[in-house]
Each structure stands twice: as structure tokens, then as C-alpha cells.
Symmetry: C2
Subunit: 222 residues, 2 copies
DNA sequence: CCTCTCTCTGGAACGTTGTTCCACACCCAG
DNA sequence: CTGGGTGTGGAACAACGTTCCAGAGAGAGG
């Protein structure tokens, strides 16, 4: 019944473990987080970590939730529902752009607590837009799935680029590959290859959000 | 210079390996494919497989490409561009719904050859819809990312449900969890929880496609 | 003050994985 | 007949997530 907290300064805790995990994931990517390296980084053993964290999946989920917390905490209550959705989606994008491993996690597991909050916010704004009740679930899910798709592709790109080259160099190589595809079979991809290296990911992501929002208002007013 | 093919009947080949890999992935999910089990299934050793396949990533990519080939081969040249996009997206959905592991692969790696063909088809129909040149790349990417997001979530759900329960039972449990969330914080999710167990994934996916297409025509005619 | 117990630690050990290595069989060209 | 390239399969390696366990440390109760 007594105070069972023995938290001295240097003690292990779930928070310290998650924090160290985030640091290692940011530095070494998804493959940079192992229990051995994490234990070494915390100057302890692998077994001690399991006292505070059930397994690696839970650790990844906690790290992703932590990284997304900032994007979710942002206030709304201002401007239009469209702007609120844009701000929320942009915040999520910034988080997964800064921590690509979190994007991979989001698109790999079913909806987890942090993303459930995002879904709730999206749904509330969809409701505020006056969408018929029968369409709210489907249209909010469309927004969520689009966000998750971008999250996964962002992480995939980050994983593919990391070796030695930098991003524009990598995209330039992909673009020249696209430009050399068969002209009869890939006319569209050849025509857009030039836009690939210079395009702004965040801007393109938000343009997709706007496209879906345009569909929402068009269908609602049908 | 001579015919260097020694292909007798029981010999190993990349095609046989990919075929066996697909069978094992379909039966045991993403964790059901190991080089040892694959070697045993093919009555050979793990080392022999590496003569025909570079590594596991390449094997997964080939298996995913094979599974998507049918969806890509479907003809177009009929009806409206909207219908062509719906048919293509529906074909991709059917493939990843039947082989969830392929959906996970698509959302985990950068665009690969099979998906590049899907992107090409999407872009051609976006062009056929009369979309301004400056928006074609972005809007086709929006469609692709939405498809990839659904692919990833489908795979995540399939991985979460497999233990012993079946799908409606699992979704019912998730829905009752949603219904018991805090009323003040999660009004939207509580209001849509009832739709979760009975909803049709394919129908909802195509409704999302329609939503984006509505945005395309609305923005185009702005 | 002693001792019991519960929390927490850290390193060894286990089983499995992807991958590499290598000795060896097979078969066609010379 | 014989050499070398093509293909095979099983042993071996390094790394991983996870489990196990002996024990340190501190507070509670006698």
C-alpha cells in the first residue's frame, strides 16, 4: 500500500525507454532500433527493458504516439472546417516527414490510439461541413486512408534514399529512368517525369487533401 | 552460344520459386514465408534458391508483381474515364484483398514496376478527363496514394484478425470498443461505430475513389 | 536491527531468421 | 573422355526478438 515508486534520477522508465527509442529511430531508421543497441544506449541489459515494455511492437506504437502527439494537440476552433482539416493533415505530415519510421508504423498496423484521435478530428470537421450522416464514415475514412498512404510512401522513399546519396540526386535518377521508359506504353509517366525532382512533397500532399475536400463539397451539394 | 537452358521438368526456376512463395504467403501470411520453409516446400536447400533470386525483398516484389498482373492486364478503351479508373482500382483492390501480404508490400516499398503501370493507367485517364497539365501529376498521385493507403490498412487488418476469430467477430469487438469511448472526446467515432461491423470494404474503397473523382471534375470545371 | 518480500536490473541463453559459403553433382562442348 | 560452367543442398554465421534467472536494492513489519 505504500508508495511503490522508486523513481530515482537514473532509473529506467517507460518514458526514458521510448525517448531513447525515438532518438535511435531518428538516427538509424527503422533498422536502427534493436533491443541490444537500445540497452547499450541506456547502459542496461535487454532484459530490463522488458520490465517496462511488453515487446517491440508496443515500443514502436508508443514511439509513434509520442511523435504524433504534437500534431494532435494543435488547436482548432478557428476558421473553416476545410482549414481545420488542412491544418490537422499538415501537422500529421510534418510529424511523419520528420520521423519517417513513424509513417511506416502507421501504414503497417491497424488504427492505433494516436491515429484514432486524428480520425475523430477528421470526422468532426466532416460533420461540420454538413456531410450527410450516411457518408460521414466513408468520407472521413477516405481522408484517413489517403493520409496513411502518403505516410507509407514517405517512409518507403526515406528508406530507399538513405545510403549515400541525397534526396534530389535520388529523385533525379528515378526521373531519368521514367523519362527513358517506352514511349508507347508509358506516355503519362514520361510526361510527368520532369516534375518529379522539383516537386514539394508537402505541397503535393495538401493538394491531394484539397482535391478530396473539393469532392466532399461537390457531392454534398449535389 | 549454345542453348544454355537445362530446364528439365523438376528443375528449380524463378517462376517455380515465386509460385511457391505466393502459395505460402496466401496460406501463412507474411510470416509464413521463410527461406527454410520455402526450401522444404520445394524439396531443396536454402542456398539453391539464392541462385535464382537475389534476396527476400526481390522475391516479395516478384510475388507482388505476379499477383497484380491480372488487375493490370484488364482492358480499358470502353466507357468513361471515370469507369476506367473505377475498374482499375477495383481490380487492384481485389488483388490485395485476396492477397493481403501484397498490400503490405505495396505500402512498404517505393513504387515498383507493377504499381508503375497502375500509375500510368491512372494518369492516362486523368488526362482523358481533361485535367490541366499542371495538376495531372498531383491528382494522379492522390489517387495512387489513396489506393496504397487502403492496401496497407487492409493488410494490417488481415494480420490483426487472423488468430482464431473471424472478421465480423473482430470488427464487432473493435466497434464495441469505439462505442464505449469517452462521449465528450470521441463523439464522431461513437456515432459511426455501428457502421463498422457491417460495412463493405470494397464498396467503401470505391466510394473513396468516387469522392476523389468528384473532386477532380469539380476542380477541373472551376 | 534483522529479515522478508517485492520491484527492478542486467547478462546469459534460446530459437528463428536472412544470408553466405562451399563441396559436390550434373551435363554439354571440345 | 574430360574439363568447366551451371546448378544444388546443407552446414555455418551473424543478428535479431524474446525468455529466463540469479541477484541487488529498498522499504515494511517484527
Amino acid at each position: 500500500m505504500a508508495t511503490r515508486t522508486r523513481n530515482t534520477d537514473g532509473a529506467l522508465s517507460a518514458e526514458r525507454i521510448v525517448g531513447a527509442a525515438i532518438a535511435m529511430l531518428d538516427e538509424g531508421g527503422e533498422s536502427g532500433l534493436t533491443f541490444r543497441a537500445l540497452a547499450a544506449h541506456l547502459r542496461t541489459g535487454a532484459g530490463a527493458i522488458y520490465w517496462h515494455v511488453a515487446n517491440k511492437d508496443e515500443l514502436l506504437a508508443a514511439a509513434t504516439g509520442e511523435v504524433l502527439a504534437g500534431a494532435i494537440a494543435a488547436e482548432v476552433a478557428e476558421r473553416t472546417p476545410e482549414d481545420a482539416i488542412r491544418a490537422l493533415a499538415g501537422g500529421v505530415f510534418d510529424a511523419i516527414d520528420e520521423h519517417p519510421w513513424a509513417g511506416a508504423q502507421l501504414s503497417r498496423v491497424p488504427i492505433q490510439p494516436a491515429m484514432l484521435r486524428v480520425f475523430e478530428r477528421l470526422g468532426q470537421q466532416i460533420q461540420a461541413l454538413g456531410v450527410p450522416a450516411a457518408d460521414q464514415f466513408t468520407w472521413a475514412s477516405a481522408l484517413l486512408n489517403y493520409i496513411l498512404g502518403v505516410a507509407g510512401q514517405n517512409a518507403a522513399l526515406a528508406r530507399a534514399v538513405e545510403p549515400g546519396t541525397n534526396r534530389p540526386e535520388f529523385l533525379g535518377a528515378v526521373a531519368s529512368g521514367w523519362a527513358n521508359l517506352d514511349a508507347a506504353e508509358f506516355p503519362f509517366i514520361r510526361s510527368v517525369a520532369g516534375q518529379l525532382p522539383a516537386h514539394d512533397d508537402r505541397e503535393q500532399f495538401l493538394a491531394g487533401i484539397d482535391l478530396i475536400l473539393a469532392g466532399v463539397t461537390a457531392r454534398r451539394d449535389r
